[in-house]
């Protein structure tokens, strides 16, 4: 264990068991698809077999005639209201929301990718629903399609969206561009350049999408689905998809089987809501894994070039980043992901001159979105190799080059108007280097390794937000109330999708209020109960919702102290609360239990009754960046191109680990996804037809237990004054450094670089051939 519990705390810093996991281990936890309502119908969606086709006619009569079918709907039955699948976009400031393309309808009259939604059925059961799908007859006019974003920009390319002059979905200039790039690069001692592209990694949450919708007799809609940001989804459903207002939508989030960014978008909820509206009955819409792979979520493929100018002393003089994003058929997250890519990629190193530009392009590929890291793993794969190339040109050790050029406290953060408060990156780099054995294993540039099996080490660094402040609305409100027995309910609205946030928030609230951890219940998952929150993304929940919970807890504690003081007949200044007991700091034998105080507040027979509760808030334009260094040691077989990862090290600037076990789990799981992103995971789309070829776990290969190497997680704790007990974010970060560290290790081992992800043996062998090395 990396971290000793902090003795000054009762709950914080301890690896306490999460409140939600026992039910998950017994099968008692209820995920969306597990829920059955009385009278509920099963919904299924008909998808397009064509990548680009106008729907000339749909004959639903045979499907409707099938006994057990309650409704069949098509584009003709849905509101003519455009929306974006990104419900996270609801948190954008209005000027930025205007650049989001509202190009999505519940069902469309034109299919824009293979898998696009054409019609939907609600029936008494799955069997009838699927037979009805088979009976829907669609007449398509197949249109020319385009699958490559560069082809989509060519004059005369098929235009994906009607009424658009071309396929340019958007252009973003990095908001913090500065200086004269051409002049800076021209006067630099060296210019390093690296180009490449990432893959469309699938979030691949193990729980397939499912949604239940039900309308009551007053026209109020309730949705059950795995959303990462229920309050924003509520708004999007109430204002964009339907015109009923936020108050007429209640969003319930059952247990969520992983999200990784996918559930910042609408899944099948709009279809479920439409089917439920038409039938007047609850409808549960189910999808298959193949439909998910052919569908509406993946990391966005970005083609990038990064140039780094360096001065004589190894100081970075300029960085330029050029991004081309393949939005796929609909805009979804492609704008925000491109912007965040540039912020995080251009935000880690100090540079007097910065230039970033992103272009988003429509194609007839499945809709891309955002995945864990949200632009950072995309940009880091390019930047961190460019940095190594720059270090080589300067003859500097990659560790020293990064230590010299990385931003530190007081300097601008990735959201530049804000300064970095704390930064343990140098410590992360130093401890990570020791853990991987950098000084013993890195033999300098051009070490000229020989033999069939060649080992190498590589590194990467990153910064990531702990919250959306500055970029999106950053607002969480928490409520804490004390019951008569001194236990508390903490009402919060993160998405518990496996990361352990419910336990972390209970630990923070317990510590803040002076209660025992086991006496704090987290109440969540229902927008009728919880107060506003932008949800779980941007690695924000511990930091932002934690701050809100702590604010509420401290207010509760203050009320408890004040009332206890009156009960004890002492001054409140000398009292403290810990582990459920109020006591005098000077004489701990003087005290009263929180339970007694709470009970006395409610069962108060005079005029001073009070159910002790408080709301707490986090609102900020700051996002408290966290930092991380990652290292990899690999062995490459130059005859097969196979990379064997011997060890990964992730050293993270966590501020304070509220629960070290969950932080480790987050980073280990992130590392596994990062390793899949680096080496095996590839959403392959046929270039001729636009069909997703890797549409199953048999063809889209994530790591199995046998594929995981040793991962060493190092938690560097330097509490940040703005975080709850000093905590910073971690959720997305474990994924980011893995691919670039492996890519740099490959160069160290074999002197080659691969320019696209995943780094497959096929590509390694090709690079070795081109390099004249290998077998």
């Amino acid at each position: 264990m990396t971290n000793e519990p902090h003795s000054e705390f009762s709950s914080v810093g301890k690896s306490l068991a999460r409140p939600d996991v026992a039910a998950k281990a017994t099968g008692a936890a209820r995920f969306s698809a597990d829920i059955a309502l009385p009278g509920m119908l099963i919904g299924r969606i008909l998808t397009s077999p064509h990548a680009h086709a106008r729907i000339v006619a749909i004959d639903t009569s045979r499907a409707k005639a099938l006994p057990g079918v309650a409704a069949v709907i098509t584009h003709a039955d849905v509101p003519k209201r455009g929306f974006t699948r990104s419900v996270m976009a609801e948190g954008l400031p209005p000027f930025a929301y205007e650049t989001e393309n509202l190009d999505q309808y519940i069902l469309s009259d034109k299919a824009r990718y293979i898998g696009d939604w054409v019609a939907a059925v609600a029936a008494v059961d799955l069997y009838v629903a699927e037979r009805a799908l088979d009976l829907i007859e669609v007449e398509y006019e197949v249109l020319p399609a385009v699958f490559d974003p560069e082809d989509a920009l060519a004059p005369g390319a098929p235009v994906v969206h009607k009424g658009w002059k071309d396929n340019v979905a958007g252009v973003i200039e990095h908001p913090f561009n500065r200086g004269d790039l051409d002049a800076a690069l021209a006067s630099s001692a060296h210019v390093a350049e690296f180009s490449g592209r990432n893959s469309r990694q699938k979030q691949a949450h193990m729980e397939p999408d499912a949604a239940i919708a039900s309308w009551d007799d007053k026209g109020r809609l309730t949705v059950w689905s795995p959303s990462q940001n229920a309050h924003l989804a509520k708004k999007a459903m109430g204002r964009r998809v339907f015109d009923i207002g936020e108050g007429n939508v209640r969003w319930i989030t059952p247990a969520v089987g992983g999200g990784f960014g996918a559930r910042l978008s609408f899944g099948v909820e709009p279809v479920a809501a439409m089917l439920a509206k038409v039938t007047g009955r609850p409808v549960k819409v189910l999808v298959t894994r193949e439909e998910d792979f052919n569908g509406w979520n993946s990391r966005t493929e970005q083609r990038q070039t990064i140039r780094v100018g360096v001065g004589e002393a190894g100081e970075i003089t300029a960085i330029e980043q050029d991004v081309l994003s393949d939005s796929g058929a609909y805009f979804s997250h492609s704008g925000t992901i491109s912007a965040v890519n540039m912020q995080s990629t251009l935000g880690v190193m100090r540079s007097p001159v910065v230039r970033g530009k992103a272009l988003m392009v429509y194609t007839n590929n499945p809709t891309a979105s955002g995945m864990r890291g949200y632009g950072n793993p995309e940009g880091s794969f390019i930047l961190q190799q460019a940095l190594d190339i720059a270090a080589e040109k300067c003859g500097m050790d990659p560790v020293d080059f990064r230590l010299k050029n990385a931003r530190g406290p007081g300097e601008p953060s990735m959201w530049e108007p804000q300064a970095i408060t704390t930064c343990a990156l140098p410590e992360c780099i130093r401890r990570g280097a020791v853990a991987i054995g950098w000084d013993q294993k890195w033999h300098g540039w051009g070490a000229g390794k020989e033999g069939r099996y060649r080992r190498g080490v590589g590194m990467s660094i990153m910064t990531h937000a702990s919250g959306a402040g500055g970029f999106l609305l950053e607002h969480s409100t928490a409520v804490m109330k004390l019951d008569e027995d001194g236990t508390a309910s903490l009402s919060v609205s993160p998405c518990e999708m496996g990361q352990g946030i419910l336990g972390v928030l209970a630990q923070i609230a317990a510590e803040g209020a002076g209660l025992r951890y086991e006496d704090v219940r987290t109440v969540t998952g229902d927008t009728d109960v919880t107060l506003f929150d932008i949800g779980t993304h941007a690695s924000r929940s511990t930091y932002a919702i934690g701050n809100a919970a702590l604010d509420a807890a401290r207010k509760v504690k203050a009320i408890v102290v004040e009332r206890a003081a009156r009960m004890l007949g002492v001054e409140s200044e000398g009292l403290d609360v810990r582990d459920g007991r109020v006591f005098a700091v000077a004489d701990s034998s003087v005290g009263v239990s929180v339970a007694e105080v709470a009970h006395a507040g409610i069962y108060e027979y005079g005029t001073d009754a009070r159910h002790i509760m408080a709301t707490g808030k986090h609102q900020s334009v700051m996002h408290c960046p966290n930092f991380q260094a990652g290292f990899a040691e690999i062995e490459v077989d130059v005859e097969t191109g196979v990379i064997k990862v011997l060890k990964l090290v992730i050293a993270h600037d966590i501020g304070r680990a509220i629960n070290p076990l969950t932080v480790e789990g987050c980073l280990e799981g992130g590392a596994a996804q990062g390793l899949g992103y680096a080496l095996t995971e590839d959403l392959v789309i046929d270039k001729g037809t636009g069909k997703v070829v890797s549409d199953s776990f048999a063809t889209y290969k994530m790591l199995s237990a046998l594929d995981m190497p040793e991962v060493e997680v190092i938690l560097v704790e330097e509490p940040d004054p703005t975080g709850p007990f000093g905590a910073k974010g971690v959720g997305e970060t474990g994924i980011t450094n893995v691919a670039p560290a492996i890519a740099n290790a490959l160069y160290d081992a074999a002197g080659v670089r691969v320019h696209s992800l995943p780094i497959t043996p096929e590509k390694v062998l090709e690079a070795l051939r081109a390099h004249g090395a290998g077998a």
Binding site: H205, E664, A705
Partner: protein, 161 residues
């Protein structure tokens, strides 16, 4: 056969269910019997989330025709714990931090049960090999392997911790 009333013996209890040949075991367990702890992850035998024990051996409920499981002993995640407490394997998963989103957990726990029934003292390599048909997207398997090692020790010790 066409539609018939069949008996399924799940977690030691008999259930009479109307089945047709095309019904999959996972749907009978989840929809007909109401044991929704068995999870549908891929429908293709690729992820292992639907793993149940058929006569003690781990099988994919998503690729098993329900009719072929009639009158045979089935164990689902709901049948593992004896009473209200957790089975030592479940407890080990909770304690080790091996549960994140929990969607793979029922299948992972049951596959672990099958492993430890046949090999009470597995090596790390044997654990990884036995669990390689169960995908987890959250944990990177690190803490799952630790949990299985810990559960093996506890079970060898007669369930004491």
């Amino acid at each position: 056969m066409a539609k018939e009333i069949a008996t399924f013996i799940v977690n030691g209890q008999g259930y009479e269910v109307i089945v047709e040949p095309h019904m999959l075991l996972i749907d009978v367990l989840r929809d007909s019997i109401g044991l929704v702890g068995t999870k549908y992850g891929c429908g293709a035998g690729d992820c292992g989330a639907c793993t149940v024990l058929l006569e003690g051996k781990p099988v994919f409920a998503c690729l098993t025709l329900a009719v072929t499981a009639r009158d045979r002993s089935l164990t689902t995640i709901e049948g593992l714990a004896d009473g209200a407490g957790l089975h030592p394997i479940q407890q080990a998963f909770v304690d080790a931090g091996a549960v994140q989103c929990g969607f793979c957990t029922p299948g992972m726990v049951l596959t672990t049960k099958a492993l430890l029934d046949e090999n009470p003292e597995p090596t790390r390599g044997e654990i990884k090999a036995f669990l390689a048909g169960n995908l987890c997207r959250c944990t990177g398997y690190v803490k799952i392997v630790e949990a299985v090692e810990s559960a093996a020790g506890i079970l060898r010790n007669g369930g004491a911790r």
